[in-house]
């Protein structure tokens, strides 16, 4: 392949890029394919979460008083802190992508560490929130036992907490997966696999992480705040 193109103009050196897979013609094409694939994946993610959001809206429509009463038992402050933490992590992730666009691997790794740190804080806050709910018996379906712990919530709170745990739980799983991917990217960046012309893996990690942030942007007001 390299012999065939030995006389190509200088800027054609793309074809010698060790990160260019053989089934792509150029790095630009490879990058565009990877990003399109990522966006299609994010589309399926949005559709998956939309089902849970719809379940929430239906529950709210059928039992407005019950949803209001049950949501008072969620900690606004824990949710608020987690919102700030997650937004910050999205910011550091975006800066990470910017760093590698400029070819700064060192700063990229720093930003990945900061993002992972924020993700961990998010999960720790979540852990305390979930522990409190478990302790008070505010659990989904047949596990619901808050009335035995002195909490009287009218209506069907076991369904509300089912929706709460499914939505925040699925979101939490996404956070954990995101943390694992960022750790992997941190290691790969350390091996020198990324540069100003080859960073689509970082960018896709960023896109995934921003989607996790997007879901939370809607989850937080709906579950914790709205009256």
């Amino acid at each position: 392949m390299s012999n065939e193109h030995a006389h190509a103009p200088a800027h054609d050196d793309d074809e010698h890029n060790p990160h260019l897979a053989h089934h792509f013609d150029t790095m630009g094409q490879q990058t565009a394919s990877a990003k399109l694939g990522m966006w299609l994946f994010l589309a399926t993610e949005i559709l998956m979460f939309s089902g849970l959001f719809l379940a929430y809206f239906i529950l709210r429509m059928l039992y407005p008083e019950m949803v209001l009463e049950a949501h008072e038992h969620l900690s606004k402050w824990a949710g608020g802190i987690n919102t700030v933490v997650l937004l910050t992590s999205s910011y550091t992730m975006a800066l990470g992508v910017r760093s590698i666009q400029l070819g700064d691997v060192k700063k990229l790794r720093l930003m990945l560490v900061l993002t992972i740190l924020c993700g961990c804080i998010f999960m720790v806050v979540k852990y305390f929130e979930y522990s409190a709910k478990f302790e008070h018996g505010m659990l989904p379906g047949k596990f619901y036992s808050a009335h035995l712990h002195g909490y009287e919530i009218d209506g069907l709170p076991h369904i509300f907490f089912g929706v709460y745990f499914l939505m925040t739980g699925l979101h939490g799983v996404h956070v954990v997966i995101g943390l694992a991917i960022m750790l992997w990217m941190f290691v790969r960046a350390g091996r020198g696999e990324f540069g100003a012309k080859n960073y689509v893996a970082i960018e896709n990690t960023g896109l995934y992480w921003h989607l996790v942030d997007l879901v939370w942007i809607f989850l937080f007001p709906l579950l914790y705040l709205v009256k």
């Binding site: 399109l36 589309a43 910050t88 910011y91 009335h147 705040l225």
Partner: protein, 182 residues
């Protein structure tokens, strides 16, 4: 060399990567706006806005989401096809929500009109126990109740609309309804 295609279009200069690199000021501005908007929703949640609170919260959430998608996810500068994929998804979510909500809101009226089935109207009849929807149409009540009787009691409606939770919880809910009736 071979012609290069991107999204079905031939590319003139395939070796040049035209990625937009946003300045730091853009990212700082966006995160600042996101924090301000978060503070706003948080503050508003303490004020009693009644039914408007959902609208306000959703409008703020949509603004925040737009900022994240446009600047952090680079959709503003990205290949327009990615924007198409994203907005296409949102349109399908809209159809999903719209049709379901339309069905939820119009089902009661349809049932009354067509006498199709009996349902549990917990909100309007709090504490009165099982009330069949046809109660809203007195002249048809006897006929529909007779039909229900013929089909073996509250089949298709009634309790099925209520708690699917633990038996213990269901029993409790029943007791509550009894207590409220006295």
């Amino acid at each position: 060399m071979a012609k290069v295609f991107l999204n079905g279009q031939p590319v003139e200069h395939p070796h040049e990567v035209h990625e937009h690199i946003s300045p730091m000021s853009t990212y700082n501005g966006v995160i600042g706006a996101l924090f301000v908007l978060t503070g706003l929703t948080f503050a508003v949640s303490f004020a009693d806005l009644g039914p408007a609170s959902l609208t306000v919260a959703m409008v703020v959430a949509f603004i925040k989401a737009t900022l994240v998608v446009a600047y952090f996810m680079h959709l503003k500068y990205d290949d327009k096809f990615h924007l198409f994929v994203f907005l296409g998804t949102i349109i399908f979510v809209g159809i999903f929500f719209g049709f379901t909500m339309f069905d939820m809101k119009s089902r009661d009226a349809l049932n009354d009109e067509q006498e199709t089935f009996v349902r549990w109207k917990e909100q309007e009849n709090a504490g009165k126990g099982l009330v069949v929807g046809v109660d809203n149409v007195p002249e048809r009540r006897a006929k529909v109740l007779a039909e229900i009787e013929a089909h073996g009691g509250g089949h298709g409606g009634g309790e099925h609309g209520g708690g699917h939770g633990g038996g213990e919880h269901k029993a409790e809910a029943k007791a509550e309804h009894k207590a409220a009736a006295h």
